[in-house]
């Protein structure tokens, strides 16, 4: 934990009018970590993700990425996968992945031609193969299943080689079998591409299976007469000792922690 953090939140507050959602969040995230964020509904999990993403500006506090203050705007250094609507319905799978390259290389037309187009397509095809969509490159999202759409959304984000990949309940809408496949895929990509991942989930088991670090957000104080008076912050911050392949070794112990979490 001595290395310089890739992402650093200092005294971050998020307030909507009188309603305090997050209060005094201090967080350092190390490169290469897989941080799971859990917590009850309304505890500000998604708000935290949105301020890191740049979709919202924190009311107070500083967010630094690689030591530089973050612009209050989304950028290609932070990739994202939402639970839904993460892919463009009017583009084929390949078109969805190439889009990121086109935006970068062709500011005016956002389209590539000739050899640049060929190179971008090859890069995108390799990315699609890596997420297991080799057979569906020319299909539109509406023709893909929910799991395949999320695979596509991940490929689309990874083509930009983001510094941090943000996942907002990415597997929440998938059925259990598909979800297990997606867990294996994201683990594989995480180690292959040396990603730093922050994932919001309401599934505690998922949080502990995938994460190297689990943050639980909740309110420290609660005033029953003014429920919005106090905001949530990280009440538990657990670092899990995992090897790069977390398939078997520590699952029982990990689930033990999860139990105490639920009781807490």
């Amino acid at each position: 934990m001595s290395a310089a953090p890739i992402l650093s939140l200092q005294n971050v507050w998020v307030e909507y009018g009188d309603k305090i959602v997050l209060e005094k969040v201090d967080l350092d995230i190390q490169p290469g970590s897989f941080v799971s964020i859990v917590g009850p509904s309304g505890a500000g999990k998604s708000s935290l993700l949105r301020v890191i993403l740049g979709q919202e500006r924190p009311t107070r506090g500083v967010i630094e990425l690689d030591g530089q203050p973050l612009a209050p705007e989304c950028g290609p250094d932070r990739g994202v996968v939402f639970q839904r609507y993460s892919v463009f319905p009017h583009l084929s799978a390949l078109g969805n992945v190439v889009f990121g390259l086109e935006c970068e290389q062709a500011p005016l037309t956002a389209r590539l031609f000739g050899s640049a187009r060929k190179a971008a397509r090859e890069q995108a095809e390799a990315m699609l193969v890596a997420v297991g969509l080799a057979d569906s490159m020319h299909q539109y999202p509406a023709q893909l299943s929910g799991g395949m759409q999320q695979r596509l959304a991940i490929a689309q984000a990874l083509i930009k080689r983001p510094r941090i990949l943000l996942l907002d309940e990415p597997f929440g809408a998938l059925d259990p079998g598909i979800r297990a496949d997606m867990h294996a895929l994201i683990q594989q990509l995480w180690s292959d591409y040396a990603l730093t991942i922050i994932m919001v989930t309401h599934d505690i088991r998922e949080a502990f299976t995938l994460g190297t670090r689990v943050l639980a957000l909740d309110k420290r104080r609660h005033d029953p007469h003014a429920p919005h008076r106090f905001g949530a912050t990280a009440v538990y911050d657990l670092t899990l000792n995992k090897k790069s392949n977390p398939e078997e070794p520590e699952k029982p112990a990990v689930l033990e922690i999860a139990k105490t979490q639920e009781n807490a």
């Binding site: 993403l53 979709q55 705007e73 989304c74 950028g75 290609p76 932070r78 990739g79 994202v80 939402f82 839904r84 609507y85 993460s86 892919v87 463009f88 319905p89 009017h90 583009l91 889009f99 990121g100 086109e102 935006c103 970068e104 500011p107 005016l108 037309t109 956002a110 539109y140 999202p141 509406a142 959304a153 689309q156 984000a157 083509i159 930009k160 983001p162």
Partner: protein
């Protein structure tokens, strides 16, 4: 079996759809024949033979005064006005609604203005257009364009603004600028909706066309109908109205087909 579960097959659907049309036609023929039995000179409900006779003169013989075949000259003039008016409206609507829908500051600045213009009844503007632009083609085309564009702009701008916020965020995380979001994310997704809006605008566009032609024109389908009205020439008016209906149906069908063929990704989205 409940009626909600009775789904006619394709052949049955065509048959059922044709039934009311056939009933109406037969009813017309019976009533027309009765009237002609009472009064052979009846002009109000002409028989098919009379309509064909009247129309063949307009369709196949050149007018002595203008040297043109009246029916086709009317059709060409009306379609030219309608096409140009709708074309201008569609192009304007696309550009304006893209800017309004994607860029919040522009929406804040011009949104109320567009809403204000959209609630003005276009026919009320007709005198202004005739005064400002003269009685020629320009005023008629302008009436159609001004009549249908604001509604299209409001519809498409609202549709673009309602695209999932996740898409715009995602595009930004992929490095897209405002311009790139406009042309690669919003524009293609607005196209099926635009064609839908044009289909809906066809009705009002015809209304404005016929109104403008009725008031000041020397050729056109609407002009002809209102001209021969003075002579109670139902044998010309009825075929003209049927022809206008046929043109409108063909246009609507062509637009629907274009939308299906050009935007396969929008199929089954209910958009």
């Amino acid at each position: 079996m409940r009626w909600v579960n009775r789904h006619p097959k394709k052949g049955e659907r065509i048959l059922l759809g044709a039934l009311p049309v056939a009933v109406l036609l037969i009813a017309y023929l019976i009533v027309a024949a009765q009237r002609h039995a009472d009064n052979p000179m009846d002009k109000i409900l002409p028989l098919p033979g009379q309509m064909m006779q009247a129309m063949s003169a307009l369709m196949f013989q050149a007018d002595q005064l203008t040297g043109q075949v009246t029916f086709w000259a009317d059709t060409v003039a009306s379609l030219y006005r309608l096409g140009l008016g709708l074309g201008i409206a569609t192009l304007t609507a696309l550009v304006v609604s893209l800017v309004l829908g994607v860029l919040p500051p522009v929406r804040a600045t011009f949104g109320p203005l567009v809403t204000g213009i959209a609630v003005i009844p276009p026919i009320a503007l007709l005198p202004i257009l005739f005064i400002a632009l003269g009685l020629g083609e320009t005023a008629k085309i302008a009436l159609i364009a001004i009549g249908v564009a604001p509604v299209m702009i409001r519809d498409i701008a609202a549709y673009i603004a309602a695209l999932p916020a996740e898409q715009v965020i995602k595009a930004q995380t992929l490095g897209a600028s405002s311009w790139q979001i406009m042309i690669r994310v919003a524009l293609p997704q607005a196209m099926p909706r635009l064609i839908h809006a044009v289909r809906l605008a066809l009705g009002p566009a015809w209304v404005f066309l016929i109104s403008a032609e009725a008031i000041a024109a020397d050729v056109g389908l609407g002009y002809r109908i209102f001209l021969v009205r003075r002579y109670l020439s139902m044998d010309v008016i009825l075929p003209y109205v049927a022809w206008i209906a046929l043109l409108a149906i063909v246009m609507d069908w062509a637009l629907a087909l274009t939308s299906r063929k050009a935007f396969p990704w929008a199929e089954g989205q209910g958009r």
